[in-house]
Symmetry: C2
Subunit: 336 residues, 2 copies
Amino acid sequence: MVTIYDIAKAVGCASSTVSKALNNSKEVSEKRKQEILAVAKKMGYVPNASARSLATKNSWSIGVLFSEDLNIGLEHHLFAGILQSFKAYVEDLGYEVTFVTKKVGVQSLTYLEWCKYKNVDGVFIVTVDRDDENLNELTHSGIPIVSVDNGLLNVPTIISDNLQGTRMAIEYLMNKGANRIAHIAGPQRSFAAVERLDAYKDTLIKASVQVDDNLIVEADNYDFMSGKRAIDQLLKQSEKMADAIYAASDDIAIGAIVALKEHGYKVPEDVAVVGFDNIELSGYTSPSLTTVSQQKDLIGTEAAKHLIALINKEAQIERDVIKRVPVEFIIRESTK
Amino acid sequence: MVTIYDIAKAVGCASSTVSKALNNSKEVSEKRKQEILAVAKKMGYVPNASARSLATKNSWSIGVLFSEDLNIGLEHHLFAGILQSFKAYVEDLGYEVTFVTKKVGVQSLTYLEWCKYKNVDGVFIVTVDRDDENLNELTHSGIPIVSVDNGLLNVPTIISDNLQGTRMAIEYLMNKGANRIAHIAGPQRSFAAVERLDAYKDTLIKASVQVDDNLIVEADNYDFMSGKRAIDQLLKQSEKMADAIYAASDDIAIGAIVALKEHGYKVPEDVAVVGFDNIELSGYTSPSLTTVSQQKDLIGTEAAKHLIALINKEAQIERDVIKRVPVEFIIRESTK
DNA sequence: TTGTAAGCGTTATCAC
DNA sequence: GTGATAACGCTTACAA
């Protein structure tokens, strides 16, 4: 391993001069700097992050909290997409993206301890168990944190405009003549799911339509099977099938469509279905799915921008700042 | 920040003794150790990764190479799933998972330089541009590396048994009576795609069926649209439509089914379709998709195990070690 | 402009 | 069993 001392020796100067040259300081003559840079390159010098971090107390790294406890891992399209654009943005700025974990070697740590251990500059919470006892400690530590979607208390959050999206969906269905619009809500431990359910009720009420609890089902999860099961539940709750269904996710919607077909209903003729997310496949199912599209790229980059601003103290840490990202309503065959 | 010196002062011993206690060394009396541990806990001591790493030359961190240049980012189900299980496995062992990047602060680095900079214990190559000029340098550096799927030269690779999978698919189709089996190959820059194409030809030849180049199309990519386009291409190449199609991915297969329907073909009546991957949605399309299932969990954990073995020098770095992970053939409606 | 030296928080060697 | 102390590679006052 080549160190600045090796370079200093080779050049015939002090290590501090080498350091200055390497860091583009103005306290070195241009000539010296070029000389040092040339030698460094020739010798294959690579700086050492640990030594640098130890001396400067900066890590240039951002921790990502991506808990798998919730069964929403990296495979989840939305969160993977968000993380992807977040990663691209901060890496371009020179930050390293690393996953926050609870262990180092044989030792167990809390999230906060790990972040201190690694001295991360900031934390991006993608998915996390809101009941995790370690969470509170982290969110109150003063470390710059940004979150998405899960609506943690005390953490600035970037999230889709669930109210707007829901309203567009419901109003569209009503304009199409639907008057028994059911809602398959997402699991209510999810913040977005709660928002969408509230928005559903709110929109109906604003349109002077009475909310019928028998037309509301809570899915266990955001996935296909939950959508299928939700239809069974709906059939139990209500003798007469709804003429439209607004589902809290595309996966649920697609599962619901499959179940509806199995029960002999035609989509969209008997029942119109609207999803949420606009997953890539929603354009390819049969029928293709009308849905509320979430801009995962934008959510990821907005989260990144805000976190960087917090790190650079260009933004203040305000609790409960919620930034809404607009959604888009995409009409396809499932509501024709 | 609490350091071992603070603890030493509080306890009234030397910092080296504290270090020993903290590291569970046998060179401290049990009594002292307990005393130190108690004080450390009370003071909220958290070790410092940089200092430790600087002194020990170990980082307990693994770099993940996940290049987005190929348009296969984290959103790709297969790679996301593989990374997920890899991550879970190594984190449980106390390793940190961090993304390899090409920049640190304002400075640009090669992959290898970054790995040296961060002193990662090993590298997991998930996706990477095989033509990347930085790659060769990394794979020949002596750093423990494991790869999946993309069949890099000189790197131990964990990959699905593409030959077995292809054979099962083709033989099944032949048994069903198909005698004009087309193949929508994946992009031939992908190693797996090449393997599947070769296996397709090989299986036909072994069954004394002549390979018809007009029944082979190379998709631009692994995605839906490529599948749709491939059907157009197939129609151009061959006047008579195939009676079965073996596609290199589920996405391609689903795209192909959509295109086939648009052209008036019925699946599976006119054309049977088989995919590859077993993405979650393949069971929910209409018709649901017969496919070759890849075990992403197993691929991820096998990669993790091998990398850890390399790091611990329990395995030798052998070039071109390829470990095959078995696949499973799943029969659904698209071939009924 | 350049050099000296202290300090960052650990671990590890070697006396005692 | 315990304690000095050097070393890890770098940055940064401060001195020259």
